[in-house]
Amino acid sequence: MNPFIEIITQPDNIAIVIMIIMVTFFMVWAFQQAFQNDRLKAGGLPVEGENDQDIETWKPLVRIELIITLAIMIGLTVWSILVDAPLEEIANPTLTPNPAKAPWYFLGLQELLVYFDPWLAGVVLPTLIVVGLIAIPYIDINPKGNGYYTFKERKYAILIFSFGFFILWLLLIVIGVFFRGPGWLWYWPWQEWDHQRVIYEPTRDLTSMIGIDSRSIAGFIIGGIVTIGYLVGGMVLPYRYWKKNNPELLEQLGMIRYATIMFLFITMMSVPIKMVLRLVFLVKYVWITPWFNV
């Protein structure tokens, strides 16, 4: 069979295909409503839902809940009739499958293991995702766009969230499910998995690009300057820029909020930066220390 068809019709992967379809559908629907509301606002008209009246719960809401419940139940039942949940061979600690994949919703994090050591990819970054999500309402002080779809009024919030959600979370999941084969090597859907395939891809560390051993004292110092410089510079430079061009914004945010936003933002951006470093420049580590590597 065509390997692509084989991959997308694996029972557990059908869920991923459904996810791609649903997420795409709702993404389009959300942005379509956002742009529509923006047009309404630009024309001085009320946005969708602004003039809504209260209506009785019994029966309009209860009715629609019942209909949706039945529809979902039918859908899941049909799915369960057509596709059987997989049950593989009995667990065997001596037989490691290749690739050994985490559950699909963690494959974005497993994908990060290509670019970061486990303490970052598996512990620190997931923790920061959760902390960052919980922090969103407290660091986003823009009062607009509360209770309706809009893009114009919350451009940056929506762009940053969408980048994190669609690219860094969902796209990496899709890559982990469909494009990673034995040895976690990249396979296009039409390629056969080859368990003998080895890619010799010599990686280097950042400082060795300028001829300095990353494990030497000089390499340690330069790597440290780059890493800490990225964090500090990422916090200080936007501050100075805004101080000059938009001091009211900084005033409104306050120091703690500003620092939290920028820390979360530059941590998030370190993921695509490290990906480019690894994929384009074959850089494995930026900074090697006796305790950890970044």
């Binding site: 839902g49 809504d52 059987d84 959760v130």
Partner: protein, 254 residues
């Protein structure tokens, strides 16, 4: 026909269950909601937008429905399952091939679980896109994030229970991350200063051992069937309660 209705309704048993006749008045329509322990999760009146599919997409409610379905199918599965290395795998095989409707029940549990993870993520996206986390709903967004994490963990702990290759290695890969925890995992940075070894680190606590075995199976089973569902139910109460107390479905402010 009418007299038959009368007979059915006009007796002590019927009246003890349904206290009053439904007459389709404003009062009775309100009573239908707050006179019912399940429906009184709703307010008596809601905004039109709460009924329009295009605004909420019904995603939070669908997530809750998936959860209920998972509890029901999960309880059925529990009747036939022993969380032990010797029995777990054969129990699932028996359930599929010997128990009436076993296969479809397990399928429903599996697909509803995947579905719940998908839907809860889309719910979060909707709440973000409508700015519904903004005042006064900041706290409830945080509860929602924790419920999202609990959904992942519920699914994750359920992976191991069939004791097949898929679950075994997915859990091995996942819990290996625990060993990399800074300070508290034996491979994590700085852990040597706390004298952390493979026998006292985070991964050991997760697995009840140094590798996925009988203790890990028991732990994942208890987390999956008891601890995490209880925690989720408590937080769901808070989540739904706060939706009401924070003013219901979000809407444009005037």
């Amino acid at each position: 026909m009418n007299s038959l209705f009368e007979k059915v309704k006009n007796n002590l048993v019927w009246k003890s269950v349904f206290r009053r006749d439904y007459r389709d008045t404003v009062r009775d329509r309100a009573l239908a909601i707050f006179g019912n322990v399940f429906l009184h999760l709703h307010p008596v009146k809601v905004r039109e937008s709460a009924v329009k599919l295009r605004y909420t997409w019904g995603m939070g409610g669908i997530t809750f429905f998936a959860f209920i379905l998972l509890v029901i199918t999960g309880v059925v599965l529990m009747f036939y399952y022993h969380p032990s290395v010797d029995q777990a795998y054969n129990d699932i095989k028996d359930f599929e091939f010997q128990v009436p409707y076993g296969m479809i029940t397990r399928n429903l549990h599996r697909w509803a679980a995947h579905f719940m993870v998908i839907v809860v993520m889309i719910h979060m996206f909707r709440v973000f896109m409508t700015g519904s986390y903004k005042a006064p709903r900041q706290f409830n967004w945080g509860i929602g994030v924790i419920l999202l994490v609990l959904t992942f963990l519920l699914s994750f702990t359920g992976y191991l229970t069939p004791w097949d290759q898929l679950g075994f290695w997915a859990i091995t890969v996942g819990t290996n991350m625990g060993a990399a925890t800074p300070l508290l995992g034996y491979q994590g940075p700085f852990s040597e200063y706390l004298h952390i070894t493979p026998y006292n680190d985070v991964r050991f606590a997760l697995l009840g051992g140094t590798q996925v075995g009988g203790n890990a199976l028991l732990r994942s089973y208890i987390w999956h069937c008891v601890a995490l569902p209880l925690l989720s139910i408590v937080l769901m109460f808070v989540h739904f309660w706060r939706v009401r107390k924070d003013g219901g479905i979000s809407r444009p402010q005037h």
